[in-house]
């Protein structure tokens, strides 16, 4: 087992990082927070670079890269607290379209002509049991009714892959156009996520995955990709929090010393570093398991997202605390990263959700309780 990035993967990461350093400095994030700007120009740059196409098969008009590369992109997007729909497109919408074999749609997504997201969570819960939105067959098509919550990139999307339940009790996935449903964008602490709630009332939809027993497996594969990408996205934000806090501890002086020379803080830095490395290592292990479709992928995905949850707990806590008063201000850029890291845990299943799911995979939950 080799868990280090290859030279090509390092190069891809460095390229993405260099682009984002130029195109998405904190000022761009701030503009979105303060509603003095949007992420539109950034999105245009990213589509010019074919970033939405990275993980789409070459036969569908993409660049044919694997899931490890998507994980890299997700991490870099977190590192810069990037606003806009790219994470939703590459880690949620594309995996669903690929699962559905929707070549034509994928070709449109590759060029940026179509922007979509996955509408899965309901009533604050991620997971198949939470899906109450109903799908009813209606002539050649389907009609959907229900409410979806916290759709990533939803305010930017023109299309949604909506997961809904048929009469049979089986889940299916359906494509719905933005104009056919009501998009509600609540005020959230990280406006860069573009979170939206969707209200569907007898909305007409075309089928992506027809409801049957096999859809559960497809959905698992898709939601694993979403969760692992969100895990690394969270870890990306955490690593940046770590770096910024470490830099600060090397220059901020109190009692005539830099604060980083106090052992009480040194040990916290060592623990923060460990937490980031730990979450990063299991994150890429999960990404690799998905890329190679290894039987361990389900277990690894739960581990990755739970470890990212551990990581954000510590890094947000200590990152803010060790900045002192300056970290408590709106003017300082730190809070973009803190908020992104916290949001990362709230989306695609929390730390608790994935620990419980892991326990289930490990056979620790008795039949009756699961």
């Amino acid at each position: 087992m080799d868990l280090e990035l290859s030279d090509d993967q390092f190069e891809l990461r460095d390229n993405i990082r260099a682009v984002l350093d130029g195109a998405c400095p904190p000022a761009v994030v701030r503009a979105v927070y303060e509603e003095t700007g949007t992420s539109d120009e950034l999105w245009a740059q990213m589509t010019e670079l074919y970033w939405p196409a990275l993980g789409i098969a070459e036969s569908d008009g993409g660049l044919g890269m694997g899931f490890v590369e998507i994980a890299l992109l997700a991490e870099e997007l977190g590192r810069a607290a990037v606003p806009g729909p790219l994470l939703a497109v590459v880690s949620q919408f594309i995996p669903m379209l690929a699962e559905a074999g929707a070549s034509g749609l994928l070709a449109e997504v590759a060029t940026g002509a179509r922007v979509g997201s996955l509408a899965y969570a309901e009533r604050g819960r991620w997971g198949p049991d939470a899906v109450a939105t109903v799908a009813v067959q209606d002539g050649d098509g389907w009609s959907l009714t229900g409410r979806k919550q916290a759709v990533l990139g939803g305010v930017h999307a023109d299309s949604f892959a909506v997961v809904a339940r048929a009469d049979s009790g089986d889940l299916g996935a359906f494509l719905v156009a933005r104009d056919d449903l009501v998009v509600v964008a609540p005020e959230v602490i990280d406006p860069g996520l573009g979170l939206a709630d969707l209200v569907l009332e007898n909305v007409s939809a075309t089928v992506l995955l027809a409801p049957d027993a096999d859809v559960a497996g497809s959905l698992e594969r898709v939601t694993q990709q979403a969760a692992v990408a969100m895990a690394l996205h969270t870890v990306g934000a955490c690593r940046r929090i770590f770096e910024v806090t470490l830099e600060y501890a090397k220059v901020r002086e109190q009692y005539d010393k830099v604060i980083g020379s106090f052992q009480a803080l040194k040990h916290r830095f060592a623990d923060m570093f460990l937490s980031v490395e730990r979450a990063n290592a299991v994150g890429y292990y999960a990404a690799l398991a998905i890329a190679e479709n290894d039987p361990a992928r389900a277990e690894a995905a739960h581990i990755a997202k739970a470890a990212a949850g551990d990581c954000q707990r510590l890094l947000v806590q200590d990152g803010l605390q060790l900045h002192g008063g300056i970290g408590y201000t709106w003017e300082n850029d730190l809070h973009f990263l803190l908020k992104r890291a916290k949001a990362g845990d709230a989306l695609c299943g929390s730390r608790a959700f994935h620990r419980a799911a892991l326990a289930d995979v490990l056979g620790l939950v008795p039949e009756t309780a699961s």
């Binding site: 087992m1 080799d2 868990l3 280090e4 990035l5 290859s6 993967q9 490890v68 470490l246 501890a249 090397k250 830099v258 980083g260 020379s261 106090f262 052992q263 040194k266 040990h267 830095f269 060592a270 623990d271 570093f273 460990l274 490395e277 730990r278 290592a281 299991v282 890429y284 292990y285 690799l288 398991a289 890329a291 190679e292 290894d294 690894a300 581990i303 739970a306 470890a307 551990d310 620990r355 419980a356 892991l358 326990a359 490990l362 056979g363 620790l364 939950v365 309780a369």
Partner: protein, 394 residues
């Protein structure tokens, strides 16, 4: 990134497994005379060491004349994994094989290699590491045991403590102060001390568990006379060599920690359904969550270790060694702690041997050997903060 090894590595694995199947020490012999100290070499262990030496499986990365086969780092990793998985102790004298022999190859004279290192490799002798003293623990450079030059000899006086295996070892890799007038790191030398030299007194220290099998010792040195040819490397260069010696040990110690944790986790998962069945729903939910968390730690330890190892293979250095030491020992300790909590009153039972049975409090207490020795967890955090993260020395 790859989940699996190349075919050539798998071929190496198969070759070793075939050899091991034929040559592993018989379980009855191990049970009759189990490993009991860091330097006690039972007859089966000596014979096994000799077979490994002769067939190039003792230290696969070394050349054949030193009991190896010039294998690469990845092959060595696979070799250690398989030995561990088979439950076969690689050596009953880890300090000798892992630290002292390689240090002698790096710094010793040809005569020292012939007389001290080679017999270790052939299973004929064992050795102990005399570094720590009552006033020199984490601050090892503070050691005071004095070696004074007297013609062709050194005369040595002082005391060592926590010397693992000194009660069985044939010789000691002894750290002494040879120049008291320079800064403390610059006046330390290493001298080879045969344990039967007059003036050496060994007093075993009973440990926190398994009092019948003492491994730690105090070593008193009263006017011990040793010839100058027992000096290893250059005079007053001991500190630099110490860092080199310990590096030998650290490059793959993490693997033992990880594999120990994995087997403890496997045992815990096997025992869990039975133990959980007796708990009420709320207590059970708490226990299940702990197990899930510990399982994450276990998988993370392997992922971190493998990644650090891949970096080491590619770049020849892995600054995160300290990170692995810290993580693999602390995580394993937490696993042992919870396993005992889950086991309840049965965890109180003793007599399970030096390393304790899974879930026993003896097993939990034994894990402190790993978080205290070889640079305590606190020292590892200092090292990470200062040497890896570049924070200033306080």
């Amino acid at each position: 990134m790859k989940l699996r090894f190349d075919e050539s590595v798998e071929a190496f694995r198969s070759e070793f497994l075939e050899w091991l199947a034929v040559n592993r020490p018989p379980a009855e012999e191990i049970d009759a005379d189990p490993p009991r100290s860091s330097a006690y070499v039972p007859r089966w262990a000596a014979a096994f060491t000799r077979r490994m030496f002769d067939d190039g499986w003792l230290v696969p990365g070394w050349p054949p004349e030193r009991g190896g086969r010039n294998a690469g780092a990845i092959e060595t990793l696979v070799y250690l994994e398989e030995l561990n998985r088979a439950g076969v102790p690689r050596t009953t004298n880890p300090q000798g094989l892992g630290i002292i022999a390689p240090s002698l190859f790096d710094y010793g004279t040809d005569e020292q290699i012939e007389k001290y290192a080679m017999p270790l490799l052939r299973g004929e002798t064992s050795a102990c590491l005399g570094m720590s003293e009552p006033d020199a623990g984490s601050d090892l450079a503070n050691l005071k045991t004095r070696a004074v030059r007297d013609g062709d000899n050194f005369i040595i006086n002082g005391q060592k403590v926590w010397t693992s295996g000194a009660n069985y070892a044939d010789f000691c890799f002894l750290f002494c102060r040879t120049d008291p007038d320079v800064p403390k790191h610059q006046g330390i030398s290493i001298i080879l001390l045969p344990m039967d030299t007059p003036g050496v007194t060994v007093r075993p220290l009973t440990e926190i568990v398994a009092p019948d099998f003492p491994d730690l010792n105090e070593v008193f040195l009263d006017d011990v006379i040793l010839p100058v040819e027992n000096l290893v490397g250059d005079l007053n260069n001991g500190w630099r060599m110490a860092n080199g010696s310990l590096a030998h040990e650290r490059s793959m110690v993490w693997l033992m920690g990880v594999m120990g944790m994995e087997s403890a986790m496997t045992e815990l998962l096997a025992a869990a359904p039975g133990l959980l069945a007796d708990l009420g729903p709320q207590e059970r939910a708490l226990a299940v969550d702990e197990i899930a968390g510990l399982h994450i730690d276990t998988v993370a330890a392997r992922c971190l270790g493998y990644r650090g190892f891949a970096r080491f293979v590619r770049t020849g250095s892995a600054p995160e060694q300290s990170l692995m030491k810290l993580y693999s020992t602390e995580a394993r300790q937490q696993l042992a702690r919870f396993a005992a909590e889950l086991l309840g009153p049965d965890s109180l039972r003793t007599g399970t041997g030096r390393h304790g049975e899974a879930g026993s409090l003896e097993a939990y207490f034994t894990t402190f050997g790993t978080t205290i020795s070889a640079g305590s967890s606190e020292i590892q955090r200092n090292i990470i903060a200062e040497r890896v993260l570049g924070l200033p020395r306080g």
